[in-house]
Structure formats: C-alpha cells, structure tokens
C-alpha cells in the first residue's frame, strides 16, 4: 500500500539547463514508491511537458505533487503570460513559441496534447497577464496499467 506522499518543487523560468529537473525528481519519488513503470512514465512525461511550458513562457512556477493509494495528482502553477484560448492551445500543432524555442527542440504545439494524452484528467485555468495553473490526475486504481492510455500504441 502506498502511503500518502506530497512535496513541492520550485521552477525557474528561462533556465534551460535546469528545466526538467523537478520532473526528474518527481520520477525518482514515484520510482521509490514502487509504482508500475507505465504509470511512472505517463506521470513523468506530463510533469515534464508542464515544466517545460513554465520554463519557456513563465518567470517562475511551483510544482506540487500529492500521491495517495488511489491517484497521483500534480499541480503546476506558473507566473506567466496566461493562455488566451485554452481550447486552441490544446489543439495539436498550435504553438505561440518563438523561433529560438523551436530551434531548441520545443514549441511544436504538442506539449498540452501530450499532457492530456498521458493523464486521466486535466484541468487548466488561466488568466491572461497573471499565469496558468495545470492540475492533472493519474488514477492508480480501477484501470490496469496503461489500458486506456497505452502510450505505446495510441498516438
């Protein structure tokens, strides 16, 4: 049985060397809890994409995780420009990233769709000029690992 575990990482914007560090540490936490690899991969990918968004667009942010025997819940709150049209931002291929971000391997408009694909629920709240909060949940019970979110066959 997994005991309740929670923690917080601080995220720094525009820091590409360290961007991804928090997700890496989250992955370690999940591994230490002995969760199935498929679940760990999904949660880590979703957290990483959200962290990269913070790094690309925001000044700073916070990643908070809360793990129970039933779910992994991660909230990423950033101090960024906010998203004007969330439905549009969730469209595959839509991106407002500048050219230099694309040349660094990001900004292809796949980040949010990728988070959605790997999670069981995703809530995005955003205020233009203030920031964006992503809240996602991955279920640990009910469905077998990756049954509905088989990341290896379903994209």
């Amino acid at each position: 049985m997994i005991s309740n575990t929670e923690g917080t990482f601080f995220l720094t914007g525009k820091d590409f060397v360290n961007a991804g560090k928090a997700s890496s540490r989250l992955k370690k936490v999940l591994e230490n809890l002995g969760l199935p690899p498929g679940i760990i991969r999904r949660a880590s990918i979703a957290a990483f994409e959200a962290e990269m968004n913070t790094s690309i667009y925001a000044v700073a942010g916070i990643m908070h995780y809360y793990i129970t025997p039933e779910t992994i819940r991660v909230e990423i709150k950033d101090m960024g420009p906010g998203i004007e049209d969330i439905a549009l931002a969730l469209t595959e291929g839509y991106s407002t990233a500048p050219d230099y971000i694309r040349e660094m391997g990001f900004g292809s408009g796949m980040g949010l769709p990728n988070i959605k694909k790997n999670t069981d629920s995703l809530t995005i709240t955003s205020a233009v000029g203030e920031g964006t909060t992503l809240d996602f949940v991955i279920n640990l019970t009910g469905t077998s690992e990756g049954a509905e979110h088989d990341t290896e066959r379903n994209c």
């Binding site: 291929g93 040349e103 391997g105 292809s108």
Partner: protein, 113 residues
C-alpha cells in the same frame, strides 16, 4: 529517382496543388530544425520533418529542395500550404514516423552524403 516515384513507393499524400513531381531527387535530409536545414541540406534533396511552421517553405525554397515529407500525419496549416503552392514546393504527408520514412528512402538509394 524522380519525386513521383518516391511518392508512389511510400504512398505519400500530396498536399500541394500545381507542383512539379517530375523533379529529380538528388538526396535526402531529415531534421526538425530549420537553421540546420538551411545550413546543411543540398539542392534537389527531399526533406523529412515533423515541423509544420510556415518557415519550412522558406527554408525549402531558399535551398531549392525537391520537396518536403511531413511525418506522422502532421497537417500543415492553410497558410503553409498556400505558400508552398506559390513557391512550388511539394508538401507530402505520411502516417509513418521519420525513422521509417528515412529507412525506406535509404532503401530506394537516396543518401545525404
């Protein structure tokens, strides 16, 4: 090998109208980085990419590439397709990922160097 043979061989879907598929393809390049393509691709090459930004047309046109293959069913927006038709750059789409597309082009004899 000409473009239409490659399109037939890989079952590519042609997305641009009024472009010349009779052009000789001299080699292949795979990259999602536009600066890299501008720096390293050669005239007459076919370019394999996941990138759909409008700039792909400018890069292909600048380097006089034979065409662009978009992988994984990536759909360019209308502006990109319109510009590609104007610049006479064929854009073709495949469901295959880049590694598979490159492998098949290599099998057909295309090389980069």
């Amino acid at each position: 090998m000409i473009l239409s043979e490659i399109a037939d061989n890989l079952s590519l879907e042609i997305k641009t109208e009024g472009v010349d598929l009779g052009r000789e393809v001299t080699g292949g390049y795979v990259s999602d980085l536009i600066s890299d393509v501008i720096g390293n691709a050669h005239e007459g090459f076919i370019w394999v990419t996941f990138q759909v930004h409008l700039n792909i047309v400018a890069a292909a046109s600048l380097k006089n590439l034979a065409g662009i293959i978009l992988v994984r069913n990536r759909i360019p927006d209308e502006e990109t397709l319109k510009r590609a038709s104007e610049e006479k750059i064929p854009i073709m789409v495949t469901p295959l990922p880049a590694f598979e597309v490159v492998g098949r082009l290599y099998d057909l004899g295309l090389r980069c160097q």
